[in-house]
């Protein structure tokens, strides 16, 4: 009985159903997100738990698919983990007979699945753990220096934004904006749009507040600082890259043996 349950949990048939379900939920979610952006926009700047409390629970008719998607992806994670353990145990026991090269080629799909599992875990960690600043909690305003306190009683003084503008065909549009931050220890650092600053476990991003396309020419806008500590980010990026390399290796090996 236990063996049958394990085979079911580690089976490709279950993977197939879970993948179909997650595809359907992603497409459904995309349609809801498109029609109700105001509800889903805060999700980018809030932990899932806070968002579910403030936005999700009150709009269940539009957000029902998100907990369901999280559940299906969680089950897919379980299915992937079982599949990894199952295949790994099988090939490990046969490694002396097959030789190291064949063993490595045989466990490549298992490693690809491990990467996928870690990417999923990374996304869950990114959405559920760490710190995310709220909308306009940390602001850099023209002509002002603002003082803020980060979690852990870390002080920072945020200077005014200074912007460069395009000349020629896009004259007056913003080329880049930067702000100087002075941390409590006296350390001075600069943050620019799309060039985040990593400091003391925090990622600090600078972003133009409001609608970036609608600013008046040559006007220095108010900027927002997005402050985050995200434990999942590194896992997602690294494992996605490794997954691609392993996929290439696997199919190159398969072609070579054909």
């Amino acid at each position: 009985m236990g063996n049958r349950i394990w085979k079911f949990l580690a089976g490709v048939h279950l993977t197939l159903w879970l993948l179909w379900a997650s595809i359907a939920l992603f497409v459904t979610g995309g349609l809801y997100v498109k029609s109700d952006k105001a509800i889903f926009d805060p999700l980018n700047q809030m932990l899932l738990e806070d968002w579910l409390r403030e936005w999700g629970a009150g709009n269940l008719d539009k957000t029902w698919w998100l907990p369901l998607l999280a559940l299906v992806l969680f089950l897919l994670g379980i299915n992937t983990a079982c599949c990894i353990l199952d295949r790994l145990a099988y090939h490990w026991n046969r490694r002396r007979r097959t030789g190291t090269r064949t063993f490595l080629a045989k466990i490549t799909p298992t490693l690809i699945h491990a990467c996928f599992g870690i990417i999923l875990a990374g996304h869950f960690a990114s959405m559920c753990v760490g710190f995310r600043s709220r909308s306009m909690e940390f602001v850099s305003r023209p002509g002002e220096t603002a003082h803020y306190t980060l979690p852990g009683n870390l002080e920072m003084a945020v200077g005014e934004p200074r912007c460069e503008f395009f000349q020629g065909p896009f004259a007056g549009s913003i080329r880049q904006c930067r702000t100087e931050i002075v941390f409590g220890s006296g350390e001075r650092r600069q943050v620019e749009i799309a060039r985040p600053l990593h400091w003391n476990g925090f990622q600090i991003h600078l972003r133009q507040a409001g609608s970036p396309g609608k600013a008046a020419p040559y006007a220095t806008p108010e900027c927002e600082l997005l402050v985050k500590s995200d434990p999942g980010l590194g896992l997602i990026m690294a494992c996605f890259f490794v997954l691609i390399l392993l996929t290439l290796y696997y199919y190159a090996e398969e072609k070579a043996t054909d």
Partner: protein
């Protein structure tokens, strides 16, 4: 901000015509030998048009070249030429030019609509770092092009049952390129919006669904109930939702806004 007069539309029309003539070469006749040269001519003309489009604002914007749907015929033609050069079944590989011609015609019409709206060139800005944006759209478009070719050859396999490896290999290429594009896109999204997956953009959800579909397909080969013809049918059917969610819905949204 745009200067539509500077865009060499003639090159786009000529490229579509070259693809059309190359498609005629799929049938037996005098044009047959000219088929690959016409395909190459179409690719070069499309390249000229895209370069003109990238320079049309008076400032070279590489992301404009690769981010519009009009890059798709170029991507398809480039893949088809490489495939034709490497394949030992050149005639079967060359049939892809029919798909390229159809896509070239549709994107030519779409270019006129976007030009009339003044939305062909997206103004540059700090949220769109040219390197990340360009490489993201390039790999993403190449991945979709590989997928559409997989759909084409899956249809071919359903008709003649002789191209199981061709559509399967294109699907693998699409998976690798699309995975790469998702890494590049995640970096861009992180730099610009502080999140690797933008949770309020429907485009990201559709991309996740597409990536999972490719992953699902790769698993089917290991299941006994999924021989090549059944997998080919699934891939051929997937053409319609993928085309709709990635290209048509996006374009219709722009058109009606």
């Amino acid at each position: 901000m745009t200067e539509p007069n500077a865009i060499p539309y003639w090159a786009q029309y000529a490229a579509a015509a070259a693809f059309g003539l190359s498609a005629l070469a799929c049938r037996p006749g005098r044009l047959k030998a000219a088929g690959p040269f016409l395909l190459l001519a179409g690719l070069l003309l499309q390249s000229w048009f895209l370069l003109g489009l990238g320079r049309s604002s008076g400032m070279f914007l590489p992301n404009t070249i690769v981010s519009l749907e009009v890059f798709l015929p170029w991507a398809l033609a480039a893949l088809a030429l490489v495939h034709r050069a490497c394949s030992d079944r050149k005639e079967a590989a060359h049939t892809a030019v029919i798909l390229i011609f159809a896509v070239a015609l549709l994107t030519t019409l779409q270019t006129r609509v976007l030009a009339a709206q003044g939305s062909l060139v997206y103004p540059p800005g700090p949220m769109h770092p040219a390197g990340w944006v360009t490489t993201f759209f390039f790999t993403e478009s190449m991945a979709y092009a590989a997928f559409f070719l997989a759909c084409w050859f899956a249809l071919g396999h359903l008709r003649r049952r002789n191209l199981p490896h061709t559509f399967h290999n294109y699907l693998i290429l699409s998976f690798v390129l699309f995975s790469l594009s998702q890494v590049l896109g995640a970096v861009w999204s992180y730099l610009g919006w502080a999140v690797p997956f933008h949770l309020s953009s429907d485009r990201h959800y559709n991309s996740a669904a597409f990536w999972l579909f490719l992953a699902l397909y790769l698993h089917l080969k290991f299941l006994p109930g999924w021989p090549a013809p059944r997998r080919a049918r699934l891939v051929a059917i997937a053409f319609i939702p993928v085309l709709y969610f990635r290209y048509l819905a996006y374009f219709l949204g722009k058109w009606t806004s």
